[in-house]
Subunit: 255 residues, 2 copies
């Protein structure tokens, strides 16, 4: 069984790696649409056009399902139908957060687009009922901070502190990491948040779902990229810790 | 005379507005390649492909010159030839900084890509000689900060302070703003930097050049956009203070 992954770059590697760990036999096609990196600040209609083009491309390569390895795109396609099943991070991230909370007070951090969509808020209430309290905070500087590579030191601490400040007095016991970049800042979240707050990464739940839904294959991984191959291979090698080979393709967007 | 402008969004409006003020009669074609927003973190080969496609498109619309209203793209095309003259911000920004300095100590802030290219450093030394001291600092969080719209308050102050910190002990008397977003943070730069530091915005010099080089026209302005028209018109209206109409086009990138 071949399944596709879509992200704007290497952020989705955390999802790919989780699926690889939990369902190693599946054949994986990872599409990095770096020409349209990052998805975070992009309007919904652009993301829809990108997902549509990605589905067409990956289906032509034999993919029978698509995992959106990015919260911003997941929040946009919620509830829509495609020619193959499209699995987003939102529903499964919300499920994991509901399982993890004891007090029913959940914090969500994500890009502007994901927060504005209200998707996490809706799913948390749908799954947890009206008594769940959700505090959603847009933290638009955290993904660029991770991209900049400077995730330690006083400056990084100060930036994360200022982005999390609306959450500090909220008495949450779960923080839902609504962007695939954020696990790289876990050490700072732990330092800043009160002890006992559980950090929930949706990647892990999506990987379990993929393992339960799909079987078979030879465990191959192929990479496709819409922007610079050289740069993607270089960053990919750094993030994955092993050399990768990618093939350049173009996505034709229909608006 | 028709001249084109290229940026990844509305950042280049500061350049467009300066040219409009200084050379109102020129006919202006503004191409916002929002499908590839932002240019800042993009590899050089992607930016080259974008500039090449923009030149082809704008030339087909009658443009006889192209102003790169963005430092990241300006730093990549430096020294290259195109079918029409391509005017970047780097050389003219450096010229303005050299005119403004008395002590010969100049700070440069820009995106990672612009700093990594070393373009401002080279031009400042080429124009100012070896005695010029240049301290270049990548400030990758400042453009996202401006995009987020939260350019005042304690959090914004803290972020700008941490990004400028490598400059504070450098005794500079000029700060070159190497990204079109940065003038929106001038109030914070003034608060943080010692009194007497001159802020230099390259847009102003490029507008003077355009006024001196090119004449004639009816003062029209046309907007083209590669991503969402609705979102571009909305943000454009907010930034320009007047309604704008844009037309959607596609850019075919050749790598």
């Amino acid at each position: 069984m071949r399944i596709g992954f879509l992200d704007s770059g290497v952020g989705g590697f955390s999802v790919l790696s989780e699926v690889q760990r939990k369902a190693p036999e599946l054949d994986k096609l990872y599409l990095a649409d770096t020409a349209h990196f990052p998805f975070g600040p992009r309007p919904g209609e652009e993301i829809l056009a990108i997902v549509g083009a990605a589905v067409r491309f990956l289906q032509s390569k034999g993919a029978e399902a698509l995992v959106l390895a990015c919260n911003s795109s997941s929040s946009v396609v919620e509830g829509l139908s495609f020619p193959i099943p499209v699995i987003g991070l939102i529903e499964h991230g919300a499920k994991a957060a509901i399982s993890a909370t004891r007090s029913g007070r959940i914090g969500v951090i994500a890009t502007e687009g994901t927060i504005r969509s209200g998707s996490y808020d809706r799913w948390l209430h749908r799954l947890g009922g009206p008594s769940i309290y959700v505090k959603s905070v847009a933290t638009p500087l955290l993904a660029p901070l991770v991209e900049s590579g400077r995730t330690s030191g006083r400056a990084a601490f100060g930036i994360v502190l200022s982005q999390l400040s609306p959450l500090l007095e909220e008495d949450i016991d779960v923080l839902l990491l609504g962007c695939t970049h954020y696990p790289f800042l876990n050490h700072l979240f732990r330092e800043i948040l009160p002890e006992g707050v559980t950090l929930v990464d949706p990647a892990s739940s999506v990987a379990e779902l993929a393992r339960d839904l799909y079987q078979g294959g030879e465990g191959s991984i192929e990479f496709y990229v819409t922007g610079s191959v050289k740069v993607f291979e270089k960053i990919g090698r750094k993030v994955l810790g092993a050399p990768i080979r990618a093939q350049r393709i173009s996505l034709n967007l229909h608006f």
